[in-house]
């Protein structure tokens, strides 16, 4: 029994929601259920990000979800987005759940800001923070540097990722950042952790996203085209939590994830029509394109600079504007955009999109789902 995404929902994306994360979560979930025309009473499973401050019981209490039979969570920040969809599909395919809600609610701008403030020097961070590796950008910049050292990738090539995201976001009414951005603007943005500049970094956003999954058969009777989950995959790569201590910072852990994903789906990179990549920092779009076989290793920078990732290019990437320009809901807005592309209702539609890859090569862990539309 294959699983499908039957409904998607999101709140307004803003820099100041003025609302609690619980209120945002409830709104997004209700919208996703309404989109799928599935009543709350039929929800029997909830899967969330382990970082989410709204746990499944809070959500269930306030939405009146009764008798949940499957509750789980996926970890490691951004990669959790595709991972919870993968987990939801696995539960449905195994017959352990029939109607699964996945969500992420985050006051990322007005609430606690990821990577700001001293944090707690525990776990692997104890061997990073005392030397000033105190924010995600100071960790992930190490990977960016290695891509430059090993492959000759340039800041301008990172900039091409940011410019493409902004161009796409300019068509997206929901996007927080829609004003024009040129490559010169990117190059003029201030250095945060050289080689990464301000415009290489994702936004901080208040909002929430949700998806509802059910069996493909049942979803096919809903109001929207059923979006089948062909396969999902996760990978830790070597190093686990101690990401900066791993062997190769210039090769993504997502390489392992991609092999599993394509094998499970019986498809390959050439079958992918549109790609959503978790873009917390611009270089990780390049890492993902290489890991998922969409570019040769070391060639993604040139591919981006030639416009290959833009709408109208060979392989449109993050047609919603991504974390860089649409909103930062830690990667759950990406599969939502993949669904809209496959339904044919995206703000910036890719003609004939039938197979979408939503993936994250975040340096911590990797995740991906391969989705197929009904068309």
């Amino acid at each position: 029994m294959k699983a499908a995404i039957a409904g998607v929902g999101q709140t307004e994306y803003s820099k100041d929601s003025g609302r609690t994360e619980l209120a945002l979560a409830c709104e997004a979930v209700d919208k996703a259920l309404a989109d799928a025309a599935i009543p709350r009473a039929e929800v029997d499973a909830v899967i969330r990000y382990d970082w989410d401050r709204i746990d499944e019981l809070s959500l269930a209490t306030h939405l009146g979800l009764k008798n949940l039979g499957w509750m789980s969570q996926a970890g490691d920040g951004g990669p959790a987005g595709n991972a919870i969809i993968h987990h939801a599909a696995a539960a449905i395919e195994a017959g352990l759940a029939t109607t699964v809600v996945c969500y992420r609610a985050l006051n990322g701008r007005t609430g606690p800001r990821i990577g700001h403030g001293p944090g707690e020097a525990s776990g692997a961070e104890a061997f990073q923070m005392p030397w000033g590796m105190v924010s995600p950008v100071t960790q992930f910049g190490q990977f960016a540097r290695r891509h430059m050292v090993t492959y000759g990738t340039t800041s301008e090539q990172f900039g091409a990722v940011a410019v493409a995201a902004r161009r796409h976001a300019s068509h997206n009414p929901a996007a927080v950042m829609r004003g024009p951005m040129s490559l010169a603007d990117h190059q003029a943005s201030r250095l945060i952790a050289d080689p990464l500049r301000l415009f290489d970094c994702c936004l901080e956003t208040d909002g929430a996203c949700a998806l509802v999954l059910t069996s493909a058969e049942r979803a096919s009777h809903g109001p929207n085209p059923a979006i089948e989950v062909l396969a999902g995959a996760q990978a830790s790569g070597p190093g686990g939590a101690a990401v900066v201590f791993r062997d190769q910072l210039d090769v993504s852990e997502a390489t392992h994830c991609a092999a599993d994903l394509y094998r499970r789906a019986g498809l390959g990179p050439a079958d992918v029509d549109v790609v959503m990549v978790y873009d917390h920092f611009t270089p990780f779009v390049l890492f993902a394109l290489e890991a998922f076989g969409l570019c040769e290793r070391g060639e993604a920078g040139a591919f981006a600079a030639e416009g290959g990732i833009e709408h109208g290019g060979r392989l449109p990437v993050n047609t919603h504007g991504g974390n860089l320009s649409e909103a930062y809901l830690q990667g759950l807005s990406h599969p939502i955009e993949a669904v809209r592309q496959l339904r044919g209702e995206a703000a910036l539609q890719v003609d004939g999109a039938r197979v979408a890859l939503s993936c994250a090569a975040s340096a911590g862990t990797a995740s991906a789902v391969l989705l197929r539309g009904a068309g």
Binding site: G115, H116, G117, P118, G119, E120, A121, S122, A124, E125, A126, F127, Q128, M129, P130, W131, G132, M133, V134, S135, V137, T138, G141, Q142, F143, A144, R145, R146, V149, R190, L191, I192, A193, D194, P195, L196, A242, V244, F245, L249
Partner: protein, 141 residues
């Protein structure tokens, strides 16, 4: 060496490392079974799974693997210490560690550059090391 940053609470796995720093020594675990050094500190050898690890002193020499030059203050204490270079050093012992690169301009840092370890002498609280270009007579700042 940067001042004012949060210091970890040593635990049973890491205390010999932090105590070594207090004495100006970089202490690492080496596996009695396979001979591999491991980092960060832990109860088990990540290479062979062995649980007999011996603390040994490292000379701290190595080469630059990666680095960033931090230009914004992520905590207020860092505001007057910018910019600083934080990165990864591949030690001769076979492990990769986080360090700060000092004793040269940030734009002089290159991948593969040979570096040596220096411990700070004056600092209040936990002593730490940094790395400077090999042969440099310039100490840490």
């Amino acid at each position: 060496m940067l001042e004012g940053l949060a210091m970890p609470a040593p635990d049973g796995d890491s205390a010999p490392f932090w105590n070594g720093c207090e004495e100006g020594k970089l202490m690492l675990q080496r596996c009695d079974g396979c001979g591999q050094a491991s980092w960060p500190p832990g109860p088990v050898c990540a290479s062979c799974g062995g649980d007999r690890l011996t603390w040994v002193e490292s000379q701290g020499r190595g080469t630059v693997y990666s680095w960033v030059v931090v230009a914004v203050a992520f905590t207020p204490e860092l505001a007057d210490q910018l910019p600083y270079a934080v990165g990864l050093v591949d030690l001769e012992d076979g492990v990769r560690m986080v360090t700060t690169f000092e004793g040269c301009e940030p734009n002089e840092i290159e991948a593969g550059m040979e570096v040596e370890m220096r411990f700070d002498e004056s600092r209040e609280g936990q002593r730490l090391f940094c790395h400077v270009p090999a042969g440099s007579d310039r100490g840490s700042r």
